[in-house]
């Protein structure tokens, strides 16, 4: 079996993406001043990436695990963490 990328792995999952509301919101001013940015490697879905030197995040593909919130050095301020509205988000078929 060839090595997967996170995008490929997430491609096996079923999502109902909420295009109207993001369930995780970042204060990018704080995030861009954060040096270690543990979210960029710790997020199991690889949704926190550095683009043009700045942090970028996309809530589609979120596995709703809560890793980003717990590893964030300034969790309370930088991440307004939540879960998607009822019926949206990851839908595990196996779990």
């Amino acid at each position: 079996m060839t090595r997967l990328t996170t995008e490929q792995a997430l491609g096996f999952d079923k999502f109902v993406v909420d295009d109207e509301q993001a369930h995780i919101k970042l204060d990018l001013e704080i995030c861009n001043s954060c040096d270690p940015k543990p979210c960029t490697h710790a997020c199991p879905a690889g949704l926190y990436v550095i683009r043009d030197g700045k942090l970028a995040f996309d809530h589609a593909g979120c596995l709703e695990c809560g890793t980003c919130r717990v590893v964030c050095p300034r969790s309370g301020e930088a991440i307004a963490w939540g879960v998607p509205r009822g019926g949206f988000g990851i839908h595990f078929r196996f779990g």
């Binding site: 079996m1 090595r3 997967l4 996170t6 792995a9 997430l10 096996f12 999952d13 109902v16 543990p38 490697h41 710790a42 199991p44 879905a45 690889g46 596995l63 709703e64 695990c65 809560g66 890793t67 919130r69 717990v70 590893v71 050095p73 969790s75 309370g76 879960v83 998607p84 509205r85 009822g86 019926g87 988000g89 990851i90 839908h91 595990f92 078929r93 196996f94 779990g95």
Partner: protein, 424 residues
């Protein structure tokens, strides 16, 4: 309304089932479109707790395989040493433990609660608790409010409700681990052949060593009926400090030659991730407050001993205890923290808090990095030395051991062995 249960996992559904069976009005609210569709775990439930609530549950529940083989493997640098325990009696009636897939299983358990008379409302996210005079009196979901004598927070490791009600604090990285898993689908016969299992029989393998890159954690493999669950758990504190990605670590783990036969016959069906409460009794919040009870993962009721990982049996038993406490409170009409304190008593008297208290030192013991680096390296090198024949000078057992156990190595081994004996 007697009780609102938030979260249709094993703790919530058991509470709903017991209450509804006793004729109480109960609503269970679940944010997923179906019970279990937000849930994920490694792969196995010990039967005893649910067997007590629903005797013979496994005859109708969508269980995967009855586990008859346990393997703990130390791995380092491609070498490995395993301890294997086969016990066919584990499959005897009632089977000791089952591998499971949560989407299907949790959905079944919720349906049992529904059959018993509970109302199950899926696709609704609960946003807040309603308070009056410092007491929890209900929940708010969007614009809707619902009142009940008691709210049972069964909303999982990231419990919003217990925190909003002031019963739990936000956990810190050292208290949780990140679990990632891929379900690899393959025919049942192929799994039985590869793992030498009889019909309906399953195997569980845990891995300790460089699969977690020296960080606190380990790998796991659970055989399901038509799939294999392969995953890794890594401490969130180590993940925060380091630069490793759990996804990359899982891909590295999968790439080991030992899994090549499994992977060449299978196809990835799903990738999932979840937090695991890991601090044992040390992270258990206030289990009850005025108008509220906290159960399952929301109460941090997970026990990791390294070679045994338990969560679902605690979830089920805590749900059952919560239901009984609600019944007791209803008989006196007292849903204050005093009236609900019976819940704590029931947990104290059951295996739930007894086991978590007995193993209270286990989390500290497992924080020791040597367990994931130095000791697996030592074990694998030592044992592979013993089995190596290459025409060189004799590797006498005593000498091989002495060569490997020099200076601080032996001091660490003795110290960690002692801690293990005390902690586990």
């Amino acid at each position: 309304m007697t009780a609102i249960i938030v979260g249709a996992g094993p703790a919530g559904s058991t509470a709903a089932y017991v209450l509804a069976k006793g004729g109480h009005d109960v609503v269970m609210v679940e944010r997923g479109d179906s019970a279990g569709c937000k849930n994920m775990f490694g792969g196995r439930m010990y039967s005893h707790a649910l067997e007590r609530v629903i005797p013979g549950f496994w005859e109708e529940a969508p269980v995967e395989r009855a586990v008859v083989r346990e393997t703990v493997t130390f791995i380092h640098g491609g070498r490995s040493v395993s301890v294997v325990c086969d016990n066919p009696r584990w499959a005897a009636i009632p089977p000791h433990s089952f591998t499971l897939l949560r989407a299907e299983f949790d959905s079944w358990l919720a349906s049992k609660a529904e059959e018993a008379g509970a109302m199950v409302a899926c696709g609704i996210r609960v946003d807040d608790v309603l308070m009056a005079d410092g007491k929890v009196v209900g929940i708010r979901a969007g614009e809707d409010e619902m009142l009940a004598d008691v709210v049972i927070a069964a909303d999982g490791v990231n419990s919003v409700l217990a925190q909003k009600a002031g019963l739990a604090k936000m956990f810190v990285p050292s208290e949780v681990a990140v679990g990632v898993k891929q379900v690899i689908e393959m025919p049942a016969a192929e799994i039985s052949r590869l793992f030498q299992l009889g019909e309906g029989e399953g195997a569980v393998e845990l891995f300790v060593g460089d699969c977690s890159r020296g960080m606190q954690g380990g790998g796991f493999l659970y055989t399901n009926k038509n799939s294999v669950s392969l995953g890794l758990v890594v401490g969130a504190a180590a993940l925060q400090r380091g630069e490793a990605s759990p996804f990359d670590m899982l891909e590295d783990f999968k790439a080991q030659p030992r899994f090549s036969r499994v992977l060449e016959h299978g196809e990835v069906g799903e990738y999932s991730a979840h937090l695991v409460p890991e601090a044992g009794i040390n992270m258990v919040p206030k289990l009850f407050g005025d108008g509220m009870l906290v159960v399952g993962d929301a109460a941090g009721l997970v026990l990791n001993l390294g070679y045994i990982v338990r969560g679902m049996d605690f979830a089920v038993a805590s749900g059952e205890a919560a239901a009984k406490a609600v019944v007791e409170a209803k008989s006196t009409g007292d849903f204050s923290r005093h009236g609900l304190s019976h819940y704590k008593k029931l947990l104290d008297d059951s295996f739930v808090l007894r086991d978590l208290t007995a193993y209270r030192r286990a989390p500290r013991f497992l924080e020791n990095q040597r367990l994931f680096e130095q000791h697996p390296r030592l074990a694998t090198e030592l044992v592979s030395d013993l089995f190596t024949v290459d025409g060189g000078p004799p590797r006498r057992l005593g000498k091989t051991v002495r060569n490997r156990l020099r200076g601080r190595t032996i001091a660490h081994l003795v110290a960690d062995g002692w801690r293990g004996v005390r902690g586990l």
